[in-house]
Subunit: 344 residues, 2 copies
């Protein structure tokens, strides 16, 4: 049987619905708990065009800017397995990719979601928002409930790319805050970001150094930097830094001094974050344990979360992205698309 | 831009042409040399549904029968990169899969070849035939020339599945021999194989034990066994065993005694063959060096092949399959399809 092929236009029909963000948050949360309980298998990631692989592209000056990741996995005993391809970076004109939904019953490709990378943006942003939500509630949020939005004074945003936008789209679901303080390297990208986010109802404060983000209680880092951009400055407030950008060996956004001052380190996948996430730069002598997000969510559910995690003055969360998220979003979107097309 | 989607029917138009097999052999040969010269990157393979991953499928009795492999790679500085998905095994009703051709210039999916696994069959069989051809000519075949067919008395075939058929299709290109001696576990599969191959002009000798294949100068093993099936028996003739079936940890077709008697071990990818190919079962105390196919082909080209390889009485070749082959066949078929569709 030929697979269903869905274009970005089809996919927008689902992602634009009012319930999409809420369901995605819940799905991602459940997914990470299942992962922690051994109910999900994530294959080792394939990375094309990033070390140790040679550069992709026909020109040498494009070395290591463009990158493609293949993430694959499945929930045990469920209907599908998902293979996700996401690519982006200069000199490629835009992000692209697909999510491929295969049947565990027949092995066949059932649906090809030609999402041009946006489902990866959504599922990545969802983890950021989920962590902010849980952290805001002192990790004490009733597990299954959908939470009331809460607030912080502002969100600090390092970077002005696509993910810097999607992070705010998802934060809207969990925070009443509509103030973002942003730093970006390229002035006209910063301008465009400001304009786009203001149109969406955000108050945008542009700052001229990354250091000025330090006053924000929540900082999100979304660049593809390969050197530390964000210096550590002490603060008297409880803080959370959500590290999104680093997802391959060599990538880095934080000054390692952050690790010296952090009380709690949480990551989506512990070993992976040490190999390809921001946590690859945790100094060797640093002995702060890294806790898996799934474990934290599980402990929250069972009300046995450690006091360190709850009362941490400085929490760092590192997302390098996992097939769990791809499976959750692909299955969710495919299911909605089938319903749309059946009823239309 | 939406990708070109080609179905099996389209792909047959290419694979049925008289030049397909010849070009494939040459492409695979050139590909392995380039690989050996560091001009190809193969990402670590993703295997879903085989250890250490949990079983796929909704029933537990299907444990580890069904498996999906994702193989990805690219030639440095060429136009495309390829991601290949191949799945098969009981209880899935049939093999399926796709080859996805992406542009190195834009990162975008240019073509989706919904080949249902047959391009994997072809490219796997091509390596078997290539090795037989080179071995038959004492590895002394002029590198760039297309070789005259040669002959052996018969081919021994362990297994009666799809790959056992494709191996013969490709052997037709390099051997005049049309006699196959076959052993299979399931009588009605053996019957069907006999009938199909006889219709194609082969003389089929069915034997009742694997041991009886030992007299054949060339033996090809194509089962998905997880225990040794083929016992070693001495022979006074020069012999080649082509091990195709084992492509994941735990799979095995040969009695390890074969390794004790082998003079030369060659594999498509040395480390991979030790992890997931037949050569994972080479006894630890055995110190026969494993030579890469690309190195052998390169040495053949430069006329500096070792005397051991040339005069070996017993040569074992292990193929566990690599993205090199997928890239070669996918690029070749896509290029032909574009030409067909432009001219039609």
């Amino acid at each position: 049987m030929a697979p269903h092929v869905y274009t970005l236009k089809d996919i927008y029909q689902v992602t634009a619905t009012p319930e999409f963000k809420k369901n995605l948050l819940q799905g991602i949360k459940d997914g990470f708990v299942a992962f922690h309980q051994g109910q999900f298998y994530a294959a080792p990631i394939q990375t094309l065009g990033a070390p140790p692989a040679p550069p992709l592209g026909l020109t040498t000056d494009a070395a290591y800017a463009a990158q493609t990741c293949v993430k694959s996995g499945y929930f045990l005993g469920r209907d599908y397995y998902v293979i996700k391809v996401a690519s982006g970076g200069a000199p490629w004109p835009r992000n692209s990719g697909s999510m491929q939904v295969y049947s565990q019953t027949t092995g066949e490709l059932e649906a090809l979601l030609l999402d041009e990378g946006i489902l990866t943006e959504w599922r990545t942003a969802a983890v950021g928002a989920l962590v902010v939500q849980q952290w805001m509630h002192g990790w004490k949020l009733q597990f299954a409930s959908s939470s009331p939005p809460t607030t912080v004074s502002c969100i600090g945003m390092l970077g002005t790319g696509i993910q810097a936008r999607y992070q705010l789209y998802m934060m809207e679901q969990v925070l009443e805050c509509r103030t973002v303080r942003v730093w970006g390297r390229t002035p006209h990208h910063v301008q465009q970001y400001q304009q786009d986010m203001e149109q969406r109802g955000w108050q945008v404060q542009v700052v001229s150094t990354p250091e000025e983000l330090n006053d924000c209680p929540v900082i999100v880092t979304t660049t593809n930097a390969r050197t530390s951009l964000l210096p550590y400055r002490p603060s008297r407030s409880r803080r959370l830094v959500v590290c999104i950008g680093a997802d391959a060996p060599g990538k880095q956004e934080l000054d390692p001094e952050w690790f010296t001052h952090a009380d709690t380190l949480i990551s989506d996948v512990v070993t992976q974050s040490q190999e390809r996430g921001e946590f690859q730069h945790v100094p060797q002598q640093e002995c702060t344990e890294i806790v898996a997000l799934g474990a934290v969510l599980q402990d929250t559910k069972e009300e046995r979360l450690s006091e360190t995690t709850v009362s941490a003055q400085l929490t760092l969360f590192d997302s390098s992205g996992t097939a769990v998220q791809d499976c959750v979003v692909a299955e969710m979107v495919y299911q909605s698309l089938r319903q749309c097309h059946q009823s239309s």
